[in-house]
Structure formats: C-alpha cells, structure tokens
C-alpha cells in the first residue's frame, strides 16, 4: 500500500527527474555523444580513473584469489594441453625461422621493401562497463601515450575491439561483441568476405557476402576492414554452413580473443589512412611482440 503524506514532494521530484533524464537522453542522442555530454564524460572519466585505479589495486588480489579457486578445476587438463601445444609450436617455430630467412634473402634479391610492422601501446584493462549490456573496457593508457579514437585493440588471440573515447590517461574500448560493432572479415581458407556482427557476448553473427561460399567449422576469419590492419584473426566459424538457393549465408563465430577475461591488450597505432600501406602478413596475428608491463 502507498503511504500518503499530503503533498508528496518525493513523487514530484521523481517526476521532475524523469523528465530531466528524458531531456538529457534526447539532447545527448541529437549530439551523437559529443558536445557538452562528451566533455562531461571525458572530465568525469579523468577524475574517476584514479579512484578506479586505487580500488582495482586494492581488490585485485582478492579477486585473483577467487579466480584462482575457480581455475583449479580445469588446471590439470589445461596443463597437459599446453605442453602439447608448446611442443607443436617449437616445431613450427623452427620451420618458420627457416622460411623467414629464405623470404629475407628473396626480398634482398628482388629489392622489395618489407612492410613496416605497426607500433603498439601495451595497456592493462582497468575497468569494465557499468553493466553487462555495456561491452566496454577501460584501459590505463590514453592520449598521452599516443592513443586516439578508432585505433584497433588486440590481445594475443586476436582482435578485441576499437577505441571509442580517450582521455589523457585512459581510453575506452568497445568490444567486438557489442551489437553495434560490425567488422568486415575474410575467410582465411577461401578468401571469401563477410561481415561479423556482435550479439552482446559469446558468439558473433557472420553473414557472407557471396551466398555461394561454403563455411567449415573452425574456419579462421581475419580482418578485411579498412578500419583495421588486414590479417588480424577475429573469430573462428562455430558451425559450418552452406547457402540454400536464394538465401543469404549466415552462421555464428567464436571470437579468437578471450574477451571475458582480457587483462592486457595492445592498442595498434593505426588509422584507416594507413590501411593501404600497413597490411600485416597473413598468419602473423599481431605483428609486434607483446610488451610486458610490470
């Protein structure tokens, strides 16, 4: 039952604040996140980043403890799998080094200038979005470190997302799982192109441009988008698919980067103007080595 107390000032205030909120939303939507709201966001993030850093510093060991407990379950199996992977990678590394030497020799003979590898800024993930609907991560590097809006962000596995806003000391990344994110990709095996769209988390949605193409489970999808360097692994096809006549070819894909537990990332110093000149080699996931952070 509602309690009535003459003039209910809290109800009037509530109604007024609802109106204020709706006005704010409309104004912000019209300004497309820029204008006064953009300035306020940048200012708030600048002020709040030290608070988040302090809280993160204090809580990280506690969270790490709980994380460690939850990880214990699969630790033995993962250890065995990693040993096998190390042995396989050592073999592949030896073969790659030999091929690299041959390529360098051939490039010298032919007088070809090899493409320069991209600069990257290593950063630590400081905070998440304010809710599960917010596929956002905040990193501890910003404008001061050379990061600007729209730069691609990667981790060991592959593409994580892109920078959507930046302050002097921090930057916000929108993950590829966000429903507003679309990335043009190429199937590494066939060269066919398609578009990956975020679904809010977990799997991504893949729509191929050529409906006659076929997809096999495990097919690697790499960037073929002017906003990102070409050749960065993005996802693997989760379920094989073949188009029926007159229908589009759609399926789902699993992100290569471990987005739910991403801790360190690299921001590639890349703008879309560089797209033509800074293509990464196929099979070379990121191009530069991960820079360790103490």
């Amino acid at each position: 039952m509602w309690r009535r107390t003459g003039i209910d000032r809290s109800a009037i205030l509530f109604a007024a604040l609802v109106v204020v909120s709706l006005v704010l939303m409309t104004v912000d939507l019209r300004a497309s996140g820029g204008g006064l709201a953009g300035t306020l966001r940048e200012g708030t993030q600048t002020v709040f980043t030290p608070v988040q850093k302090a809280v993160s510093f204090v809580t990280r060991p506690v969270v790490g403890f709980f994380e460690g407990i939850s990880d214990l379950v699969g630790l033995r199996g993962e250890n065995r799998r990693l040993r096998q992977q190390v042995a396989q990678l050592e073999q592949e590394l030896a073969a790659t080094e030999s091929l690299q030497r041959q390529v360098e020799e051939l490039e010298a003979i032919m007088g070809i200038e090899p493409p320069e590898s991209l600069d990257a800024v290593a950063a630590r993930v400081l905070a998440t979005g304010v809710s599960d609907f917010d596929a956002i991560r905040l990193i501890d590097k910003g404008r001061r470190h050379g990061i600007t809006v729209d730069m691609p962000v990667v981790e060991e596995g592959g593409l994580v997302g892109r920078v959507v806003s930046v302050t002097d000391t921090s930057a916000r990344i929108r993950l590829i799982t966000d429903p507003t994110m679309r990335v043009a990709v190429r199937v590494d095996r066939t060269g066919e192109t398609g578009v990956l769209t975020g679904r809010g988390g977990g799997l991504l949605s893949l729509e191929m441009l050529n409906t006659d193409a076929s997809l096999i489970e495990g097919d690697l999808l790499i960037t073929a988008d002017g906003r990102f360097p070409a050749g960065i692994p993005v996802a693997r096809v989760a379920e094989g698919a073949e188009a029926e006549v007159g229908f589009s070819l759609r399926t789902t894909a699993i992100p290569e980067a471990e987005l739910t537990r991403v801790d360190y990332v690299k921001v590639l110093v890349f703008t879309s103007e560089q797209a033509g000149s800074a293509d990464l080699e196929e099979g070379s996931p990121i191009g530069t080595e991960m820079i360790p952070i103490p």
Partner: protein
Amino acid sequence: MAVALALLGVALQTTLFVRFRPFDATPALALLVVLALARHLGRVESVVLGFGTGLLLDLLSETALGLWALVATTVAFVTVRLRHRFEDDVTLLIPGIFLVSFGALALYGLLGTIFGEQTLADAQVVRKMLLPAVYNTVLAAVVLPPVTKLVGERGRSQTSWGGL
C-alpha cells in the same frame, strides 16, 4: 557517508569484475547500493542520490546520458515507496531485491532500445537481466548490513529532508 558509499558502489561495479565474471555476468552492484541506501535515507534525499548515482554511471559509460539516471532514480523511488513493507515483513526483502533489480534492468533494456542502444537486439538479453538480479539478491547479505550500520537510523534522523 551516503555519497561516499554510492561512489564506492560505482567504483567496485566497474573494477571488481574485469576478470572474475561467473557465467559471464556481473552483479548490478551500484543499483544494489542505491537500493540499500534508499531503505534508510529521507525520501527526497534517496531520489536525488539515485539520480546522482545513475548520472555518474551514464558519464562512465557510452550509453545515452540520462539512461542510467532514470533507472537508478526509479530504483530509489520504488524502494522508498516500498521500504515500510520490507520492514514489516523481512521475508519480502529477498524477493523484493530480486524484483527491483530485475525490473531496473528490464527498464534499462526497454529504454536503451528506444534510445538507440540496441539493448533488446542483444542475444543474451534475458540472461543479462536475470543473472545480475540473482547476484544482487545473493550479495544483499553482504551489502545491506554494513549500509544499515553506516547510515541506518542516523541517515533518517540526521537528514534535513528526513521527514519528506
């Protein structure tokens, strides 16, 4: 004290679950703190605090400014309206926290879609409303007692708007 607790709620909400995300979901901790504070503060004060906390969430996210403000204000207002029932019957508190949390996230989903956030296009929309509400219900056992101890009766008696 109430403002400090709300700030702490927002800071914990954004930093605690970077890597530890059971079932890839996190509690709506900031909303739970607003709810916990609104049980004790004055009516007007609670609504203002809800709005302020929501606005801070808006400024720390990429959503339309005012979206979280509206949701958190609603959480505070509903809690203020229903708190006497929680006090009369404590067994209503647990389902109450679940319903308020779930309702708040459902409101966010609806408004987010209207204001171009594509929230309902999210394939995991139900899970993202349900799991945080469940986590909030569980975490209430940890959050509510200290908030009651820190602002409790003092909050209601000392506020200049306490009787409103």
